[in-house]
Subunit: 362 residues, 2 copies
Amino acid sequence: MNVHVPRKQLSESLGHVERIIPNRSSNPALSLMRITLSDKTMTLSGSNMDIDMEAQIPADVEEAGQYALPAQVFGQVVRALPGELVELNFKDTELDISSGSYATKLQLADPTNAVSLEFPETYEGSLEASQLATALSHVRYAAAVAEYQAIFRGVKLELNDQKTRAIATDGFRLAYYNLAQPSGLDCELVLPARSVDELTKLLGDGEAKLSMGDGQLTIVNKDLKVNVKLMEGTFPDYNRVIPSDFPVSITLDSQQLADTVSRVAVMADKTANNRVDLFIKDGSLQITAEGSYGRSQEGLEVSQEGTDPEIVLAYNAKYLMDALNPLSGDLRFRFSGTTTPSVIESLRDPNYLAMIVPLRTG
Amino acid sequence: MNVHVPRKQLSESLGHVERIIPNRSSNPALSLMRITLSDKTMTLSGSNMDIDMEAQIPADVEEAGQYALPAQVFGQVVRALPGELVELNFKDTELDISSGSYATKLQLADPTNAVSLEFPETYEGSLEASQLATALSHVRYAAAVAEYQAIFRGVKLELNDQKTRAIATDGFRLAYYNLAQPSGLDCELVLPARSVDELTKLLGDGEAKLSMGDGQLTIVNKDLKVNVKLMEGTFPDYNRVIPSDFPVSITLDSQQLADTVSRVAVMADKTANNRVDLFIKDGSLQITAEGSYGRSQEGLEVSQEGTDPEIVLAYNAKYLMDALNPLSGDLRFRFSGTTTPSVIESLRDPNYLAMIVPLRTG
């Protein structure tokens, strides 16, 4: 049967679903995209077991039906189409795709082989989609990479009637972002960092409807539905490691600090934690690094406060750069001690906090 | 001793020389950059054995001297500098680099370890640098990749008192580009394709002075001097394989043909030469492809000439795309037969010719 759909819309929705579908998988069913035709809607769906995704496209549909095809090939064809409108003619074993002067026949797969997805009927929570994306994207860098304990490789969401908070930590650094907006949900959950990467790409304008299910969080934003599998395990009690007493504290422009750290770090020893040294005294911040090729240093004037007149610390330059990356405008950098965690807060956006543990020196 | 030099100029010249210097090499001397200080000039030089390069930078120099340092580290430092002016203070074993509030110390190497380069005193030929780059970049794609006979992996330059021609071929396709400009040289030489890639990046405006030496071509363009090692061996007699009799010939827009081939080729079988089929008859060009996922086709109206009413051919879609890539505006596509070479010429730029051998079908 025939379906008519605007190319731009098909291409966009297909792009989202295609990206999560594995190109090669030990389970061939996972590389299939399911196409469901119903009254005035064409639905594309697929899964990589961590994320289920469904995209609805308004379309001129002649007859309902279920089909499946290799997602990547369909994506390549659709992206190449010359016309503004696409005509899809679904037959038993093949799909005719035509647009402008171009026509192609794609082999269809048995739809009973494709993964079948389920989404909740009702959504008890909601957040502004762009706000949720902001919170996730501010903290995601602090999640651990593969080597660490599994739960550290996730981003935690704390949802209650007061606020919404996203947190990530790998034990050496931590970042959280607060949304004043409560979601209507009251729960804590941990999303795999890779699923968070997909979510931040998908979330657009408008409302993100939320539903907590058995081991998964479902998010609906515009024409996209996403089930994200949750991580199991206990997220560390991070609040108790964030210090509250800071003998030294400085205020300076975040971009200036980031530029200086990146310049000085050129000389840092990549095999020794990318170490840069900070020395703060009398409203001056000296940053130095030393490696096998030589030594570099740069000084910045800062506004200094606190009970102690000076402090000496060392950080992994990459961790420092990561923590500064989401910032703009002035920041406050607060030091609890030479070997105890330091805290970076934005004066422009008080929702963001980064904590970073100094390197042990000497 | 002290040298003052504008950061932008140092960064640009350093970028050129740094790019050819190997980052890691079994011969550590090759990863060093030599710095020669003389009256009002700082000269950077290095080699990867295929290309020698020397860049001259006007600089405020206090005392002449020879130094050497790891090229990549120097490059990283210079790119990161904050100020407009760079002060270099060369000492016996280290180099102090400062710019704005930033300062670094780089370990120097023994300059006697760095490769010592020689360039000719006189240049008997010259071409417009941008024209030489145009000729090389039009044909470079047709050079063979690693698997083929060595000489096919080069780009030939034919220099005589009539014209200058660049040619590349891998036996399945060929491209040449003619420059009406004679160079003043009378010789034939073959440059390694990878050296050609570097040359096309380096050549800027103005004159390219040329000198043929023992096994190398030297090119001087503005403040850059380059020795390119020549390839040894006999380049094939390509002229005799370019057909002159074409029973069918079509004229059409190059971009339209490229777009159509790229769309249809989505279905082409990557394991079977990326084959696309062309069928020309009655001013119509039908392009089709078939692979394990399905079949695609698209038709174009063309202006057709010749003695034969129709022709059927197949090409490697990638080869066809490569041949079309340098073109804009209308092209003439001429067919000598179903299994004998076809020729593509630009109606906008008559200097370019591409030849492509059809795939054997059936």
